[in-house]
């Protein structure tokens, strides 16, 4: 079942500079899609269109069989959450507890249920001990985990991560990636926007954007070994894949080594 259907979507900020050109895309329920692309290729714009922060100039977006428009945007936002890049600029509450509560308050969830959900989802992202902490007492990774809890608590089916790990240290990044995996295993549809091939490799499919157009859309394995596409969009191959390519160039055939390297790149 398709949870997101995008048809002929176009967008521009200034009429003479199209940012997204005629995008077509379907995402299945429970799928994990990565959007790759160089800076300014329109990734964040696509994310903002999906969550109704921007309005499409032409084309349609359907989420869970509901067309996104002025009347449905509020009900669609209950199904789709987004974690932005900067951990500081999306932390609304004075404390962790208040921040997770923010979305629930907006949905007019009764207080008792709110308290329950806060406990549940804080635990889920291992932030239970930090509920009374203020944001400046938290690391970037912890703040991003709070953001995830805040979205999960709203019982969304889809989460978009717009370069959410790019400002984190390797440990914080690893942890967020682990949560993405867990959530995806539990059936949450995940869209990650990233430059990081290690992140892309975890997903089911990869969409490569270039100057607002779909350059390639295929399974993760196929895109990752597609040297030409990746070079075109200024993206770097993973190290094991580079080695495979070199081996091929030098005509060295060792199936065992090859499959091992391939395995290595897929597990990150």
């Amino acid at each position: 079942m398709n949870i997101i259907e995008i048809e002929n979507l176009s967008f521009y900020y200034q009429a003479d500079k199209p940012v997204l050109k005629d995008i077509n895309l379907t995402i299945k329920k429970g799928e994990w899609l990565t959007i790759l692309g160089h800076n300014g290729s329109g990734k964040s714009t696509l994310a903002k269109l999906l969550i109704g922060l921007l309005r499409a100039k032409s084309g349609t977006i359907r989420i869970d069989n509901e067309e996104l428009n002025q009347n449905t945007v509020q009900s669609i936002r209950r199904k789709i959450g987004i974690v932005f890049q900067n951990p500081d600029n999306q932390f609304v509450g004075v404390t962790v507890r208040d921040d997770i509560a923010f979305g629930l308050e907006n949905l007019s969830i009764p207080r008792e249920e709110m308290i329950e959900r806060i406990e549940t989802y804080a635990q889920k992202v291992s932030m239970s001990e930090f509920l009374n902490k203020e944001p400046h007492a938290l690391s970037g990774g912890q703040k991003q985990r709070v953001a995830i809890a805040g979205i999960l608590a709203m019982h969304t089916d889809i989460i978009i991560f717009d370069e959410s790990t790019s400002m984190l240290d390797p440990k914080g990044r690893r942890m967020i990636l682990d949560y993405m995996k867990t959530l995806n295993d539990e059936g949450v549809t995940i869209i990650t926007i990233t430059h990081d091939m290690k992140e892309a490799v975890l997903s089911d499919r990869i969409l490569v954007l270039k100057n607002g157009e779909v350059l390639k859309m295929d399974t993760a394995a196929n895109v990752l070994k597609d040297k030409i596409t990746l070079e075109k969009s200024n993206l770097e191959l993973l190290l094991p894949l580079k080695v495979i390519n070199r081996l091929e160039e030098k005509n060295i055939k060792n199936e065992e080594l090859r499959s091992y390297l391939w395995q290595l790149s897929l597990t990150g």
Binding site: V92, E105, N106, R111, I115
Partner: protein
């Protein structure tokens, strides 16, 4: 920068800390009104004694409260002096006879002229060599202005007389100010800024009848409270960055100071705009719609203790009014 406290909340544990912020705000208002109605030396001292008792029972550091009164000293002295000099009602208490008699003139214009002179002195003193001399000259000049600038004629045949009402009124104003400031200090010392915000939102709710949305205002204040530490951090970082490029924030002349402030303010503005844009997106993405009804995690719970506190404050007001009406102004 990290340790800048917002508001003056000091964590502690006493009944004052546990009290509902709404109760504290309402009681503060009632007691402030009482302080204005109150007259009489004895009554004033009794009121001050009661407040002292409140401070002791509430386990509040009295030194901290007194420190809070410090900025008030100038105002207190000024009003008192003003009363002594210019209030000429009631029986005469003391007469200071003077040999030579001057006529001081005072009117708004004279006072304005003196204020002008003082301002001039304040801004020019750094360019003058002999500062003490300059100060003396300014003082003499001010008095000369009062004597010679005969714009409004009111005051003084030469002897300085102190009248009873002057002393009384001056004293009462002083005491009232002290009481009011002490009471509000108690409120801010024992209430977290977020709770204070919540309480104010609730107390000011009736303002919706004149189309002021207190909920939105409270949201704005809450976000400001949340972002002050973040922005202070940011300012610190910018200052360090500018310092590494040779901007010296600690010294310099007026012109340099202005440059320093600009070099801090411009990036701060840009960063704040970017932040608020992203924050607005994050809030909207989480289903925030300004003005829509929302449930609240923090709900204030009214207890018996709160009712009793309000009743006690009302009783204080009632007794003060009674004293005034009956005429016990000792």
């Amino acid at each position: 920068m990290k340790n800048i406290v917002i508001g003056r909340f000091i964590p502690g544990n006493s009944f004052l800390y546990k009290m509902d912020p709404r109760t504290k705000i309402i009681a503060l208002i009632i007691l402030m009104i009482s302080a204005f109605v109150l007259r009489g030396f004895m009554n004033m001292f009794i009121a001050l004694g009661l407040i002292l008792l409140l401070l002791l029972l509430g386990r509040i550091n009295i030194i901290r409260v007194i420190r809070g009164l410090k900025p008030l000293m100038f105002l207190l002295l000024f009003t008192f002096t003003f009363q002594i000099l210019f209030n000429e009602t009631g029986p005469v208490l003391i007469v200071f006879e003077q040999e030579a008699s001057w006529t001081l003139h005072y009117s708004w214009l004279n006072i304005l002229a003196v204020v002008g002179v003082v301002f001039f002195w304040f801004f020019t003193r750094r360019f003058v060599r002999f500062r003490l001399l300059y100060l003396v000259a300014t003082l003499v000049g001010s008095i000369a202005l009062l004597i010679n600038l005969q714009l409004g004629y009111v005051f003084n045949t030469g002897d300085l007389t102190i009248h009873q009402n002057a002393v009384e009124t001056g004293f009462f104003i002083m005491m009232r100010l002290i009481i009011i400031v002490t009471l509000s200090t108690i409120l801010t010392l024992t209430t977290k800024p977020t709770d204070l915000n919540l309480g104010l939102e609730s107390v000011l709710k009736p303002l919706k009848y004149i189309r002021i949305n207190t909920e939105e205002m409270a949201m704005i204040i809450a976000i400001a409270l949340r972002y002050i530490p973040t922005l202070l951090d940011e300012a610190n970082k910018i200052m360090l960055a500018q310092a590494s490029r040779g901007v010296d924030f600690s010294e310099g002349k007026m012109k340099d100071k202005v440059m320093q402030i600009v070099s801090l303010l411009v990036p701060m503005f840009i960063i704040s705009f970017k932040r608020s844009d992203e924050l607005a997106n994050a809030m909207e993405a989480r289903c925030f719609v300004p003005g829509n009804p929302r449930t609240r995690l923090h709900q204030l719970a009214w207890t018996y203790a709160d009712t009793i506190t309000i009743i006690i404050s009302l009783m204080a007001l009632a007794s003060v009014i009674t004293l005034r009406v009956v005429g016990i102004n000792v």
